[in-house]
């Protein structure tokens, strides 16, 4: 047992509830970005830091149902449709073709409407050969009534229907062409050719799906079987929490939200973790020996401040160093230090493994901390319920403690991704980042410790710690996500 003064004895359920969520990016089972955790009205205490004026994570988006998304796409296209006097359906296709560059489409269309209609295959090519109407279907050679397209190509209805059905069942609804040239078949025509109502329904679903998949401002929620459609104001690597299934994801890459790590870097990191996971398993053990008395200690809460029950030695779970050093301003445990005993030449493989081990073990540790923090949260819930039953205050009085746990989860969530980010950093920018990372880590540990040891009296202390921690997290994100890139440029240029 690590803590001498926990809220409840946690030894028993710590090992029972072993969650084997080892996918490397964890975090499906909680939602640190759930609504209700607003940081907008933060007390700006004098912390000696740059006070962020805007929340770097604020992001406007809407979760839409299938029919709402359809309406929304149509109303987007309506303005252009009115302006160009083109049917809504054709405008939607032209926009898709122009990668939703409305200005460009409108400009080119007003200059030469036929050019746009031709290049998008909405009308036949002007240089196409004149077609001699055959007296039989060129696909099945049957002599029967033929359907004539605008390109003057003609086929029997049965062949046209089969052609359409095959495209729909392969998931393509947007680009169904003539059986002989590239003229597009529009919805009106397609629907007139299929009698099966279910197939029409499927067609409409795919049509919307095809449009959304290429639209920069819409996406499907990546949550399993969710089907919700997210609409954003601008495309960016920002957090989206699906209002239907609560999945938290990055709008750009659809992975778990990963600030401050950028999308491509985070993808590389996940891949690296997957490739190397076998060798790393040993780090992830949930028990360690006390560095002083060698008694085996099990980690039960998410807090890295360990206190040996046997010898009362305070130490850090990550580096096994004395906790006293961590409690100061110069909390440096998060920083990877190059082992000075390794020379410059020869050992680069070992050096790079050591570097990776450093970041990976901290990354993995935060995944575990997050899982354990979930337990802490339910214990605190039980604890509060017990207190209320005993007449010690109401839920309102205890709300601060739940808020504190939520904040803790959110901060640990960000902290976890800082290790994926820091792994790829170099130079003075890295030093600066690791300074902020260390600051955040220190405050998170303080908050975690305070929460795990809070009874009912420490409201002021916890609220104060919450404000400090919030501020540190926002400062870090503010400086090291896209908004901070200008700062990064300044730092690198002034150093070179």
């Amino acid at each position: 047992m690590s803590q001498d003064d926990g809220i409840e004895d946690t030894t028993s359920n710590a090992s029972d509830d072993d969650d084997d969520d080892d996918d490397g990016d964890g975090g499906d089972d909680y939602d640190p970005y759930a609504p209700g955790l607003s940081e907008g009205e933060m007390d700006s205490q004098d912390l000696g830091d740059i006070s962020p004026t805007t929340d770097p994570e604020s992001y406007n988006y809407k979760c839409l149902s299938f029919s709402d998304a359809k309406k929304s796409l149509e109303s987007d296209a309506k303005i252009t449709s009115d302006k160009l006097k083109v049917s809504l359906e054709n405008v939607q296709f032209m926009l898709h073709f122009y990668f939703y560059d409305v200005d460009k489409l409108e400009k080119v269309y007003l200059e030469d409407s036929n050019k746009v209609l031709e290049e998008t295959n909405l009308i036949p090519k002007s240089n196409a050969k004149t077609v001699v109407m055959p007296d039989y279907c060129p696909i099945c050679y049957d002599q029967c009534d033929l359907v004539v397209f605008n390109c003057k190509h003609s086929f029997c209805l049965s062949c046209v229907s089969t052609h359409i059905e095959i495209h729909i069942s392969s998931g393509n609804a947007l680009k169904i062409e003539c059986l002989q040239c590239s003229l597009l078949l529009n919805r009106h025509f397609v629907v007139s050719c299929i009698k099966d109502v279910q197939l029409i329904d499927k067609y409409d679903k795919f049509l919307l799906k095809n449009l959304i998949e290429t639209h920069p401002l819409y996406c499907w929620c990546p949550g399993p079987d969710c089907g919700c459609i997210v609409k954003v104001d601008f495309s960016a690597s920002k957090p989206v929490t699906c209002q239907m299934c609560s999945t938290l994801f990055c709008y750009i890459c659809k992975h778990n939200y990963h600030a401050p790590s950028p999308c491509t870097q985070f993808k590389n990191w996940l891949k690296k973790c997957q490739d190397d996971s076998e060798t790393m398993n040993y780090i992830c053990a949930n028990t360690k020996d006390c560095p002083q008395c060698k008694v085996s200690i099990e980690k039960s809460g998410g807090c890295n401040h360990m206190c040996c029950r046997n010898c009362h030695w305070d130490f850090c779970w990550m580096c096994l160093g004395s906790w006293k050093a961590h409690a100061t301003e110069y909390y440096e445990c998060s920083k990877y230090k190059t082992d000075p005993s390794i020379g410059d030449g020869g050992n680069s493989a070992r050096e790079s493994l050591n570097k990776y081990l450093h970041y990976y073990s901290r990354w993995k540790n935060h995944i575990q901390s997050l899982e354990l923090e979930e337990q802490t949260r339910s214990q605190i819930n039980e604890h509060i319920q017990g207190q209320i039953k005993l007449g010690n205050g109401t839920w309102i009085d205890w709300q601060y403690l739940l808020d504190a746990v939520d904040l803790l989860l959110k901060c640990r969530y960000t902290l976890k991704f800082t290790y994926a980010y820091a792994y790829y950093l170099e130079g003075p920018w890295k030093e600066m980042f690791e300074y902020h990372q260390a600051q955040l880590e220190r405050e998170i540990e303080n908050l975690s410790w305070k929460i795990e040891h809070s009874k009912q009296t420490d409201t002021v202390g916890i609220v104060k710690q919450m404000n400090i921690t919030k501020q540190k997290r926002l400062t870090l994100l503010h400086q090291f996500t896209s908004e901070g890139e200008t700062t990064q440029l300044k730092v690198t240029s002034s150093e070179s």
Binding site: Y141, C159, H163, I166, L179, Q180, C181
Partner: protein
């Protein structure tokens, strides 16, 4: 197999056999299985290309959804061309993918593949190594493509073919299979040392 597919293949088979191109023995089509699902095509290398005089066998599979979906075609004969895999014979050609139209026939497919041999598209490559050689050292590409056509497809020998055959033989004498030897030498612009190294590393 859908009746339309059978009907179409039968008819297209006849179309190829009676075509003027078949008369000039430029293209040929044969049945492999009686069910018309599996066919074997043959095209002659077009004149004024490294493939002149060579004969290439194509493996053709007809899907049940034919002609609404394209036939699956690949080279059975080894060939050195930017848009055809030198390892698998897979072809990168738009009409065999999204530019397929149901009104096309096996005759148009054979003629399009023959046309591809005359005009490579190195910017849309199937075989990156060949495409690189085609762009960077066109004379080596030409020599290699001609050698492959001669070695694997009965093409006309050229002035340098004896020299190249000697290089292949020297690798075979080291116990390397002749196909592997030709591949490695072609890959490394006929530098025998690098080719041998690549095989034994």
């Amino acid at each position: 197999m859908a009746s339309l597919a059978i009907q179409r293949v039968k008819r297209e088979f006849k179309e190829v056999v009676t075509s003027s191109e078949a008369e000039n023995s430029q293209i040929k089509l044969e049945m492999v299985a009686e069910n018309l699902k599996h066919l074997q095509g043959e095209i002659k290398g077009p004149p004024d290309t490294p493939f002149e005089g060579a004969t290439f066998i194509l493996d053709i599979l007809i899907p049940d959804s034919y002609p609404f979906n394209p036939p699956k075609v690949k080279f059975a004969t080894k060939i050195w061309h930017p848009n055809i895999s030198s390892a698998t014979g897979a072809i990168c050609l738009d009409i065999l993918k999204d530019q397929w139209a149901a009104a096309m026939t096996l005759r148009t497919v054979l003629l399009s593949i023959q046309a591809l041999l005359a005009s490579a598209e190195p910017d849309d490559p199937q075989d990156a190594v060949v495409a690189k050689q085609y762009k960077e050292t066109p004379e080596i590409y030409h020599m290699t493509a001609k050698f492959w056509a001669e070695f694997f497809a009965g093409g006309n020998p050229s002035s340098y073919s004896a020299d190249l055959r000697q290089k292949v033989k020297s690798l075979c004498d080291m116990g390397i299979q002749s196909l592997d030897a030709v591949r490695a030498l072609s890959h490394y612009n006929w530098d025998a040392t690098t080719a041998v190294e690549s095989i034994f590393s």
